[in-house]
């Protein structure tokens, strides 16, 4: 049986004038996989991610996300992905319940679906009694868990997480990864960027971008073996130090 591919990219490139931000990257991500997308600042991660989310038109190459083409079917892509970053997540001046309703509504869930989702989500997060609490008043750890749950409220094929755990305390950071594992075991593909190298170890496979290219791709164990390194931190430093272009 062939594994279902949720992302396929072949020679995907993006140029800004003469500057090649993303330089012929090729990779595939399987259904339910936790895929770590690593690279130094300025390596081209954000540009690559924006193309995959249907927010930026590639200069050349091919890619599909959730079966849709990144050139012609960007609207379908947006409907079938979830997205969460540190910067953009929830409306602080809406309550927990209102945030859920708002995002579920945006993604086109029916009123009945929204009610059901809202109940199950609050129960899962143990936040039933806080439905009417303003998001502004929540501790950061709660906000992030809520933001993640809302990012997958429409059961997308894939969720993009852009540095989801930056600045979070170490216990909450680990609890957050439990949510990622759970989503993955429910068949949701997780595409995640992080600066924490211990988190790279939690991914099924990892790619490392250097100067717009993907210089390494594989399971953490095999990358460590290939680079004769003890930790992913060492692998990352070996590769990122080769970078020629500064940001």
């Amino acid at each position: 049986m062939q594994t279902e591919k949720v992302i396929t990219a072949k020679n995907l490139s993006k140029k800004f004038g003469h500057f090649v931000a993303v330089d012929h990257i090729s990779f595939e991500v399987n259904k339910g996989e936790i895929f770590g997308f690593l690279g130094a600042n300025g390596a081209g991660k954000t540009t690559a991610m924006r193309m995959l989310c249907g927010l930026s038109m590639p200069s050349s190459g091919e890619a599909t996300v959730a079966g849709f083409d990144v050139y012609k079917q960007t609207e379908q892509i947006k409907k079938n992905i979830g997205y969460m970053s540190q910067r953009f997540s929830l409306y602080e001046d809406l309550t927990i319940g209102e945030n859920i309703r708002f995002y579920a509504g945006i993604y086109g869930l029916t009123d009945k679906q929204i009610r059901e989702k809202s109940d199950s989500l609050l129960k899962e997060l143990n936040m039933q009694e806080h439905k009417k609490t303003l998001v502004r008043e929540l501790p950061l750890g709660w906000k992030q868990k809520l933001a993640f749950s809302i990012a997958i409220v429409h059961d997308p094929a894939i969720v993009f997480l852009d540095e989801p755990t930056g600045g979070v305390d170490p216990i909450t950071r680990r609890e957050f990864w439990n949510l990622i594992y759970e989503a993955s075991s429910n068949g949701i593909t997780v595409f995640v960027t992080t600066h924490y190298m211990d988190e790279a170890e939690y991914c099924h496979r990892v790619s490392i971008m250097v100067d717009g290219r993907i210089d390494a791709l594989g399971a953490p164990a095999s990358l460590k073996k290939d680079h004769a390194a003890k930790t992913m931190d060492e692998v990352f430093l070996q590769l990122a130090r080769k970078a020629v272009r500064s940001e």
Binding site: N41, G42, P139, D169, P170, D198, A240, R241, S246
Partner: protein
């Protein structure tokens, strides 16, 4: 001599009649020429503390001094002596790189030439872009420019609020090398960070959480406070392994740490045997069990739960 003295500082914010204690009864001191790390997650109170010490915010209670000067009474003297790099980029976006640096030099009644030696290593990396507007720089270059501007008046104490947040592993390493060069110039450095692994690069650290200091010591001293034996375990199926370990009633904590799980038992003794039993019962393969030294993050998590 002590560069920074903080005595029983407290600060509350009241938003819509609801009070949040940003800092509660914090005390510590920093010696001259020391790199002192304030380690803690977002919301711990790091920025509030920096704003009080740089005279931008007045505490509700307690006393603090920088270079022997009181943060309230002698704020003008402190502003001449302290360099401050806020967590949020605060330079003039519509001035060029060079204009920003000239501006800060002029404000402090000095010139770029006078203290160029101090910033040379850092500034040279962005000098090719000196005519570019600050707003158009990349994150790493903004960080270097902000540090140059904070140093241009040769401060005796440098306050760096989360200078490495969102910065990749390579640039973080370089940034810390820069800090150690500045330390050799005799500058006292207070630096905050949410990255626990950076604690080992400081002379001493304060672990801070929800406005309270959990521990103050050298990095080695902090890890020595960890009383119970710590075990690192790995096997073929890590997620299932964690679930199995957590269901054992004798286990106090089990946290993923990269390729291993770190485990502490409530009543240590026979730890290894107990772990071997869990592995056998779950039919795990390729298992590895090691008794290890705790790192700062292990300690932070243990202290958080106390």
């Amino acid at each position: 001599m002590q560069s920074v003295v903080v005595e029983n500082i407290s600060k509350k914010y009241v938003v819509k009649k609801k009070a949040t204690e940003a800092l509660s009864d914090i005390s510590f001191h920093v010696d001259k020429g020391e790199i002192f790390g304030i380690i803690g997650p977002d919301g711990a109170g790091k920025t509030t503390l920096f704003r009080i010490l740089t005279t931008l915010l007045v505490a509700d209670a307690g006393k603090a001094a920088v270079d022997g000067f009181d943060v309230v009474k002698d704020y003008k003297q402190i502003r001449n002596r302290a360099g401050y790099m806020p967590g949020k980029f605060s330079l003039y976006q519509d001035l060029s790189v060079q204009e920003n640096l000239e501006f800060f030099a002029a404000i402090f009644n000095t010139t770029i030439q006078e203290n160029y030696g101090l910033i040379k290593d850092i500034y040279q990396q962005i000098e090719p872009f000196r005519t570019r507007k600050a707003g158009q720089l990349s994150g790493g270059m903004k960080q270097k420019l902000a540090l140059s501007c904070a140093l241009i008046h040769k401060p005796s104490v440098l306050f760096l609020d989360e200078p490495t947040t969102g910065v990749d592993a390579v640039s973080r390493k370089e940034f810390w090398e820069m800090l150690h060069r500045l330390k050799r110039e005799g500058i006292t450095i207070l630096v905050s960070t949410p990255y626990m692994d950076e604690a080992s690069l400081c002379d001493r650290v304060a672990l801070i959480q929800k406005g309270k200091i959990l521990s103050i010591d050298t990095p080695k001293g902090v890890t020595k406070q960890f009383r119970k034996p710590l075990w690192a375990v790995k096997a073929n199926e890590m997620y299932r392994l964690m679930m199995d370990i957590k269901t054992d009633p004798g286990v106090e904590s089990c946290y993923p740490f990269g390729q291993y799980h770190h485990i502490v038992f409530k009543n240590p003794g026979d730890d290894k045997k107990r772990l071997e039993e869990i592995i056998q019962k779950g039919h795990f393969t390729n298992a590895e069990i090691n008794n290890i030294e705790p790192n700062i993050e292990d300690c932070f998590m243990a202290l958080m739960k106390e």
